[in-house]
Amino acid sequence: MRPFSYQRATDPDMAVQALSAAAAANNPLTQAAAQPLAGGTTLIDLMKLDVMRPAAIVDINPLAHGWSVIEPNGDNLRLGALAKMSDVAAHDGIQRNYPVIANSLKLAASAQLRNMATLGGNVMQRTRCSYFRDVSYENCNKRHPGSGCAAMDGVNRMHAVLGISDQCIATYPGDFAQALIALDATVEITGKAGTRSMPFAQLHKAPGSTPDIETTLQPGELISAFAVSGRWPRSVYLKARDRQSYEFALSSAAVALDVQDGTIKDARVALGGVATVPWRAREAEALLKGQKFDEALAQRAADAAFADARGRRHNSFKIALGKRVVARALQQAVTMEI
């Protein structure tokens, strides 16, 4: 860890100002000199590992009084960016109308981490790629653009099979983001110019040729809330992992269905543990819509979801696994009692 300055932001303007002041032109957000601190469960780790070296920390926890709402009102849901994972997961209204959200949060991390971590920080968490997190490896295109990728032909069991590029195969590690992207959530962003909203699907950027640019957020911008329209009581989050708790997904599926009289009116499928960004499987959704559910349909949808997947030495199993997870999640969503 390196020395840094610490500042508590007592209102959003102050936070934005503090974060903007330190922002240098052309620096991607991940390299920005000032970083916001919420739960600290990712940032502090990466600072200890010397992966992130911010000169300034802006503590945004004092903003929680305005930014931690959990409001499943009528047909709309609003979640403040500083709401704690554990509070949202335990909320009755979320469990009833958005089980995919509740379970994506409940199945993530450990109880202690869920008590600390916030929703905004959760969606911004960075990859667990071992080579990214170990600065003794010089070749990491996320840390040093153009330096190469040690994971590509290294130990890559945990790495992505979708959304990859020849520059980076690091997996987006979170769970909650899959629920958000499946439900067409919007993200509310507070910056110098005030507040703007955009589809959550536009927040993360696949690595392409710039793996160091992970989101479309600009330095000085903060996520302040998430919003979902409609209720999704018929939704599940299925997560396959090496141990029963406190472990990242090898493969996960967020599925939300609207089934009427046996016909799938609307289908949402998102994938975790297998892609470089929160991943929406629209090809799978297209196959499902308007159809009567059966196992063969689920299988076709699962195949479609992974049609473009490319495995490497240790992670090819994720393609077959991912398909089974999607098919099983669809089955669970169809048969769940609501």
Partner: protein, 763 residues
């Protein structure tokens, strides 16, 4: 009595709470890095980013500019240390690779610089700013990597003297009605004790005190003295509590002498707390192994031929191996046995002891093969063990001192509900989950070593026991206190125990599950010396026979003795007769068959363990049987283990509470070893990749919802005065095979490579 404190059976002590329970749960126990130091400087290690090659140069300018940096030590200005030989060659070291000696790099994560600063934070920041230029060579990472060499262990490892064999294996295998040939692999694993590998060194003039979590304070004392070239009387190692060891702290690592010599040079105490990932490369580990097993049997299940070949990874300079064939060739009755252990040298740090070093990898192979043979014979695997059970080991024809293997199988099978198993693979399920039942034998050699103790008894019954044993979480304080209280007949709460300090009388390494047997045996002996003195003084015209003296308490008589009509000695009268206020005795004990140089070795930090197969006319092992339920998800192929049941017999159980805790931890570790733990090596550069707790998985509570430990009553009068076999390394041996056997039952798929992960399942 509760599950945590089982009712003692015959030949078991009381399940008293841990001696150190309160200080530990209240955070008052002082571990090595908690020890207060006067004005310490802080060290942070810089470790190599390559596994083979040379350091061309350091750029230290940026690091030196960090405020508070005092010194940066590299091979260019490094301490001049004497070499220490490997422990197996009569030295103290766990590796002969000595860092900071030259620009050469022999393995990943080798110590290449030590930054000393006024604070831990400054040292760490400066270490991050050290820039190193290397000339890297292509390293050999592991089996099958280009550039490795292979040779038989015999002849290069002084402690591996013989490849056991008997009869004519080739002929018997050829002629056997039922044959099995199978290969098995086990992975690299790291101990990862909770307490990090810290070292603090403080000099007072020419006297050095080392605070370091150690499983062998005498070995460390003499080893560091040798490396520094000073008299061992000037070195003291202190660690009253050790936050887990598992073998990783049994032999000296290079860090200690380095920190000691820097502390001397700077005339300041130095405290080093390495990081978790540095712990993967600055100490030892369990090397990956490969096995081929051949079994030949008659139709009715009698083993006729057994061959076990094992290969193990070691470093370039050191021929470390665990050689578990000494156990696997002797476990079952079999007239024709062959074996071979080989060592494969790669560009790695030297491996070392890790909980049940030989038995974990080698019994995984044998106990998996036994299950495969049972399938071929269409036989219950428990019955196959029963048919081949023996009271005499087949290699040397020596009798087991006691052996309750089948009693363990029967007890555990009953508790587990083995009879409810439908033998066909894939025949049991529950919703999304395929269910499999599996079992395996477990065993561990009974070992003990020479030990000394000092015991002091006061007129009011207060007792002080001093022995340089080690509390690595096993309950060492507790069983030593119980032994003294029982032997002297004083209340447990009047006994104070002092261990973990090389100024105390020497005890062996806390390894090989010898501690309870060794320390309790010597404490019993020294307590008896005190009793003799008191009896002589109080009853000079002796009416009691010597035998009676053995059973009579001297202070408060336990109810059982009073019931037998034994008369307690009046402690105060005895002291009055002696005319003193304190009786103190020192004594040295060595096990039968210990080498002649045992006591000399004991006083120079050397270990002379005896036991297991290496006893003269007999062979001593503790046994157990383990049953597991495994569930494999049809869709995700996730593997879970909801139930672990083990029954164990290990001679006298000093304390059923601490024994159960050891065995429960062993079962959980066994499950972890089978399903989770493996250190990934990047074969391109021979570096460990998942060197942290986020990526090197160990079980969480949700992974082990049901663990049941059954302690069997067993008495063995042939091993040591305490009658203790030792059980710290007993339970984690059989679990690997039991789980793979259960996976076979659940899925019909035989898995011969650990750990088993969901991608290895093809349902």
């Amino acid at each position: 009595m509760t599950a945590a404190a089982p009712e003692p059976k015959i030949n078991m002590g009381q399940p008293v709470p841990r001696y150190d329970a309160v200080v530990k749960v209240t955070g008052r126990a002082t571990y090595a890095s908690d020890m207060p130091l006067a004005d310490p400087a802080y060290a942070f290690l810089v470790t190599s980013a390559i596994a083979k090659g040379r350091i061309d140069r350091f750029d230290l300018d940026d690091a030196r500019r960090v405020r508070g940096v005092i010194d940066i030590v590299t091979h260019e200005n490094g301490p001049k240390l004497k070499e220490s030989k490997l422990f197996s060659n009569g030295g103290y070291a766990g590796t002969t690779i000595q860092p900071l000696k030259s620009a050469d790099i022999a393995h990943d994560g080798q110590i290449i610089a030590v930054v000393i600063a006024e604070s831990y934070e400054a040292a760490r920041e400066a270490a991050n700013r050290v820039k190193v230029s290397y000339t890297a060579a292509a390293p050999s990472a592991t089996f099958d990597s280009p550039g490795t060499t292979i040779a038989a262990a015999k002849g290069q490892n002084a402690q591996f003297k013989e490849d056991p064999k008997v009869g004519n294996f080739a002929k018997a295998f050829e002629e056997a009605e039922v044959k099995l040939t199978a290969s098995y692999d086990t992975p690299t694993q790291h101990h990862n004790p909770m307490e990090l590998f810290s070292t603090s060194c403080a000099w007072m003039g020419d006297e050095l005190v080392i605070y370091e979590p150690s499983q062998f304070v005498y070995g460390l004392k003499y080893g560091v003295a040798e490396q520094l070239g000073i008299d061992a009387d000037k070195v003291r190692v202190v660690n009253p509590y050790v936050g887990g060891g598992f073998g990783s702290r049994g032999s000296m690592t290079p860090r200690t002498a380095i920190i000691a010599s820097i502390a001397k040079r700077l005339s300041r105490p130095i405290k080093l707390v390495p990081t978790r990932d540095q712990g993967f490369t600055i100490t030892t580990y369990r090397a990956e192994t490969r096995h081929e097993i051949k079994l030949g049997a008659s139709r009715d299940g009698k083993l006729l031929a057994l061959k076990h070949e094992g290969a193990e990874i070691s470093s370039r300079p050191d021929a470390y191996c665990v050689g578990g064939t000494k156990t696997t060739t002797r476990l079952y009755a079999c007239p024709n046995v062959d074996s071979l252990v080989s060592i494969v040298r790669a560009d790695r740090n030297t491996p070392g002891f890790m909980r049940s070093p030989p038995e974990v990898p080698y019994l995984f192979a044998l106990e998996s093969a036994m299950d495969e043979l049972a399938v071929k014979l269409n036989m219950d695997p428990v019955e196959l063990r029963r048919i081949n059970d023996t009271t005499v080991e087949p290699i040397g024809g020596k009798p087991y001192t006691s052996r309750s293997l089948m009693a363990c199988f029967d007890e555990a099978a009953k508790a587990f509900g083995w009879a409810q198993r439908s033998p066909q693979p894939k025949s049991m399920s529950d919703g999304d989950w395929l269910i499999g039942y599996g079992c395996a034998a477990t065993c561990y050699p009974t070992q003990m070593g020479p030990a000394a103790a000092r015991v002091r008894l006061q007129r009011d019954g207060r007792t002080r026991v001093e022995i340089a044993g080690h509390e690595i979480g096993t309950g060492a304080y507790t069983v030593v206190a119980q032994t003294a209280a029982e032997r002297l007949g004083v209340p447990l709460e009047k006994v104070a125990v002092f261990i973990g300090d090389s100024d105390l009388p020497p005890a062996p390494v806390a390894g090989g599950s010898n501690s309870t047997a060794s320390t309790c045996s010597v404490v019993m002996m020294v307590c008896d010396q005190i009793r003799q003195r008191l009896f002589k003084a109080a009853m000079p015209s002796q009416s009691l026979t010597d035998k009676a003296k053995e059973t009579v308490g001297i202070g408060q008589t336990p109810a059982t003795q009073a019931a037998k009509g034994d008369r307690p000695l009046d402690l105060e009268k005895a002291f009055d007769a002696l005319g003193v206020g304190v009786v103190e005795e020192y004594g040295e004990w060595k096990p039968e068959g210990a080498p002649l140089d045992s006591f000399r070795a004991m006083h120079s930090g050397q270990v002379r363990l005896v036991g297991g197969h290496a006893m003269k006319d007999q062979i001593a092992y503790a046994f157990g049987a383990e049953f597991v339920e495994v569930r494999v998800n049809r869709f995700t192929h996730e593997i879970r283990c909801p139930r672990l049941v083990g029954a164990f017999a290990a001679g006298r159980i000093m304390n059923p509470r601490t024994a159960r805790s050891q065995l429960m931890g062993g079962l959980i570790w066994g499950m972890s070893s089978a399903l989770l733990e493996a250190t990934d090596i990047d074969e391109r550069n021979a570096r460990y990749v998942n060197d942290n707790f986020a990526d090197y998985l160990v079980p969480v509570n949700a992974d082990v919802p049901g663990v049941e430990v059954i302690l069997l009553s067993e008495q063995d009068d042939h091993i040591n005065p305490a009658g203790v076999k030792g059980l710290g390394e007993l339970a984690n041996v059989g679990t690997n095979a039991a789980i793979c056997n259960a996976i076979y039952h659940a899925t019909g798929q035989r898995i011969r490579k650990l750990p088993v992960r969901l991608e290895n399942i093809e349902v």
